[in-house]
Symmetry: C2
Subunit: 114 residues, 2 copies
Amino acid sequence: MDTCIFCKIVSGEIKGDVVYRDENITAFRDLHPVAPTHILIVPNRHIESVSKLEPADATLMGQLLLTARKLAEEAGIAESGFRLISNTGKDGGQTVFHLHIHLIGGQGMKHPMG
Amino acid sequence: MDTCIFCKIVSGEIKGDVVYRDENITAFRDLHPVAPTHILIVPNRHIESVSKLEPADATLMGQLLLTARKLAEEAGIAESGFRLISNTGKDGGQTVFHLHIHLIGGQGMKHPMG
């Protein structure tokens, strides 16, 4: 996607604060963190949102969650705890239309869900 | 797990408001919904949290997310949008220690993330 900012971070065209990268997944720090740890984990392939997932994407999605677990460990928050969030569409508050999981931790959550 | 309430809903020992069930996954309505649609999606096997995931759980985790997508469609919120949340540990606000994904939608989110 020529205009997708996350695709550009994945490709390296825009320099993100990348903390993890493999052939399927890239993770980088959120520019506007809401907590001491706030990392975005994205599939390298452009998928708009959870609503656009296909059955064949199951393994990739599982790898995203396992990467979140690994990054939580590396950030030292696997035991203290963290919240994973993925927003889809307008009601979900999605602002970048390239599927991503927020890994948020390093302090207790300030806001209720929903 | 003898004392886990989600294991008991999975097994049928406690009657939940189950909206989906297969050999690996069960989904049921949250008892204290924070939005018009609030469904919990859980692996049938007891896994405490995202922090306890093993690499072999990747496919199962992907199936959880694809089930969330399917249930969002059935609830008529795939286009309007929704938020997926999984809380881990104390800082994440986890209250039941059987891994679960919250599917929340049917209205715009009221609270910021984190």
